[in-house]
Symmetry: D3
Subunit: 238 residues, 6 copies
């Protein structure tokens, strides 16, 4: 069985925190952290939709993901000057898709909400923490709109995500960076608060896995996400 | 139960063909088709590796994915002028990762093989057909190298892929475009010839799915990939 | 006298083929080949014109030229990421200008037809074969428009092109790649089916030529284009 | 006399804070705030210098300035995709030049230290706060290097900056955003801890100013920077 | 005291010339030179304003700054292909801001005037000469508009600029390139014809300066600009 | 017969001038003008060759072509920010190829000479005047190299170019812009001083031409280039 830092068991999450008392001018903002991984999620509202959606009385939710240069050592270079960073692009598509999966876009009206996930420190699981925190920032932004002041927000469900993986043959929940680099299989799971799947993305890293391992990882993810969903609900009800 | 074109049953593949008698100057080349979806896969060998891998006596396999403008109607604009197409970038990362999962990179020596997947007609399932065809082009390219003329190729396994999805509540194998746009859930599965998983990527499209549906899709994919693996083997043994 | 492959005489064309039974979703499509040189020409119709032409009741025809990575050995890198490839740009301007030279743009109405020439294998003469094949794809696309179903297409003439050159002091028709690299002078000629010139582009490659050689090349090109024009007409009448 | 928020006098600074207990993996990091303006400054060390400086036994200090999307309302678009943002470029050149003005680059050896200034909330004075905070992050990063553990850092002086301006005809110290937009003249002053000038940049915004006003602004800046220099020293001595 | 070429005293300008008899199709054009530094300034008028200004009945003045490749030795590479040149961007922002400082934009109506400053030879002081010459080209362009044929131009003042600096401890006016590289402090000053400041930008180059030096530089600049303003007025009155 | 400005006959050149007394720091420089068309040609020498030519003891000559914004009315936008301008790219390839056609690259040693052609005023024929002037700048630059001070320059011949065209059915020499826009056929011819062809590029502009017209244009070009070659020789012998 792999040794985990701070004696975590194979099925325990890292300490998870949500803090909305942070600097910024966006309508919704939250600092989400899972262990050392720390991400500033802000949700900004614009009274317009992309051209291809205009005139249909429907809103749009999109996401951008970015690692700050100081979030890693060695320093992460910025995505400037037109260089395509395939990984960032893939991650922000996942975040946007996941959030749209639980929002009633019609109820938003012709508005775009952009959820920005800027990673302040990266220690594994930044994409899943971005989804979990991004949902909270999005909910806060929507709650700031006049028609939703009553608190009845246009969500069909809540959404959260976690990573699982196989290290030394054993399925583990919520991998930190040191576990992630040793993992044979890395899987990200996105689920709703009511326990339904939105995304399942598992990859063997120069390795393969069988059906038993696949099912074990999915079970771990279900349990982790249930806890995260509770923390989201409790944070938003404050 | 959804009506499928040409009376396909829910668990049957579209007609699948591999044809290596095609124009081109690359070391490996194959035209792969699944129904109307048609992709030219070529594998080109270069006697050098990317800078970050140099001097380690190891090779590299990478992939590029591109849709020709005439592959869709309306016309698909080319990826020129520095515009980032997140979808293409995500797909080519998946293809490259999948192929590397079964190649012994050390046995290649300091060479890069680039597998280009150029879509001539797009009718759903282009990324999975790219993997299935890309493996064949890659195998042909490697077989053209002097040290592998004997036919003992440096693969740990073969690799193939297929899409599955849920349409009108029912799990379906190998979706064409008309099914894909109606699908609530879309899943791509990449497996080896010996039946082990390399990638599982399932997404609800403004929808969610439960564990029973997830397992049913995985079972369908297993059966489809077994057939594709056989066709690959039979094509390569000719 | 230079030896030509397959005993071609100085004034004979390579085997030339047009095949419209090819994959793709475009309104017009043809695979054109001259010897090993093979190009997929597709013509896609859009119901709009570029902004600078809008509101004048006139259509537009434009072309894009691209070599697939597997068309050459070593592999041709893709034109992505904003890098300017001067040669491709020059060629696609030539193709577009040549095709517009024989179309009645007013009769098209406010539509844009984009002729894409994607080179599958490059063995010399790709720009001239793109013009000859592009005309066929364009004609097929226009014939698919309701107002031209009768078959009376809005062309003032047909158009075709061929390369000529001087190798070892001797004028040759339709150079393949091995001849092209040895050529002192390289000339591309574009003519109408009725034998009038549209473009004449001759370049000495670190060499010069005199008027007698210039006239001899023009005579060879006239004869080659007459044959290509006949093959176009016969293909389109099927 | 202009009303200032929270009854600030014309020559008083906004509440200024430095906090090094922040997330991140960089060698030096500090969250600097002046009123609502909040910037995360991180300083990352790389064991190499830019090519044009290589082999001269000298180090380099450079800066990057970036506003996070949620730092303003409406949302600030990211600087991606090759678009030139002249303002960011001008600011980061100023920060880099200012910091290099007080560092002994020879003592650094062949290392590059990049000071990243990421604005979390923008309420005026972001470039001057970036310099003041950037100096602290840089000092922390240098102090982490083995040869400087003794605490004798290779600085010739400390450096800090502040903005001054003329609003309603009156010189003011440390403008917030609401004052900045009303200002006729905007000036940024960078000075060392010992009171010498490094940069003086004053601009009339569709307005001009005379010598008396110029000298009054410079006097205000001197006083403000003296206080900031003290806070830097006290933070670094902890 | 530093030796200056051609026995210039510390407070004398280089020979300054304005010549409007130059090639070009722009509404205003002038070749400005200060010693060897030579810049072609052209001002082109367009009957539209940038989108963000449209519909407000107000005009816009903007500037572009560019060094021709042959203006320096070694050759200056062109700013093509999306590479950001921070220095050019900073300079053209300064030129545009300075010119807008003296124009009545409302009187222009919804027009944009672009002042292009193309450096033919660079020997120090190109940004200040661009402002001084740019004002003349702008005035000529405006004078060509029908509503200003009477000669009553919509300027609140004239504008000119000069560089000053500290070399070997001594303040000098109008530095040439050989002086600029030796300077400890470099300052650009932009003033109106009536002697009011528009921009003051002083930088220590790995050096600092005190208040006495700052004031001495400002005095030198005042005197130089007074002479340049007179030459502008005399040129425009011809 | 078309009326030509200033009573030019169909076979007469516009007034043609070469002036080397111009600002700039390049080794060779000349202002070339043909009527109103005016181009600054500079030739800069660098002691290195492009990577693909390194180590072969051979030099390289390349060209860049650029229109200054003020050269046309309305203003020509600059080629910045990665936008591809196909026309400029095509022209500079032509200039470079033409110049290389007469230089002995081996005699240059491992040096690159870049010939920059910056158009100050554009009134037709800018590409041909760039070649004619570019040759002069190149010759001056080469003459400045120590090993060629004796004056025995490494050219196999001189090179010059002119445009011809068909306007109102009549072949004309050296078209100005007003003739160019009315021309049915536009042809650029590049020839050596000894009367041999280097490039012949004729295009019908939505028009076609026959062999008699083609030969007439070539004869006109021959006569024009003979005069230009004489002016080049006389300028260089001064």
């Amino acid at each position: 069985m792999p040794d985990r830092s701070e004696n975590r068991s194979v099925d325990s999450l890292r300490p998870f925190r949500l803090d909305s008392n942070v600097p910024g001018a966006a309508a919704g903002k939250v600092l989400v952290s899972a262990g050392r991984t720390t991400i500033l999620c802000t949700a900004s509202i614009e009274d317009a939709v992309p051209p291809w959606l205009a005139g249909r009385g429907k809103g749009w939710v999109t996401a951008e993901y970015n690692m700050l240069p100081g979030s890693t050592s060695p320093r992460k270079q910025r995505d400037r000057g037109g260089k395509v960073d395939g990984r960032s692009s893939e991650i922000q598509r996942l975040i946007g898709r996941s959030l749209r999966g639980v929002v009633n876009l019609k109820a938003l009206g012709e508005r775009t909400i952009t959820v920005d996930c800027d990673v302040l420190e990266a220690d594994g699981g930044t994409r899943t923490a971005s989804i979990t925190g991004g949902y909270v920032a999005l909910a806060e932004a929507i709650a700031s709109l006049p028609e939703f002041h009553s608190g009845d927000l246009p969500f069909t469900d809540s959404i959260a995500a976690v990573s699982v993986g196989i290290v030394d043959g054993e399925p583990l929940l919520d991998l930190d960076y040191s576990e992630d680099v040793r993992a044979d299989v890395d899987m990200n799971v996105v689920m709703t608060g009511s326990g339904r799947f939105v995304e399942v993305q598992g990859s063997g890293e120069e390795a393969t896995f069988d059906k038993v391992q696949l099912y074990a990882m999915i079970d771990l993810a279900e349990r982790g996400i249930a806890q995260l969903s509770q923390q989201q609900a409790s944070h938003l009800s404050e």
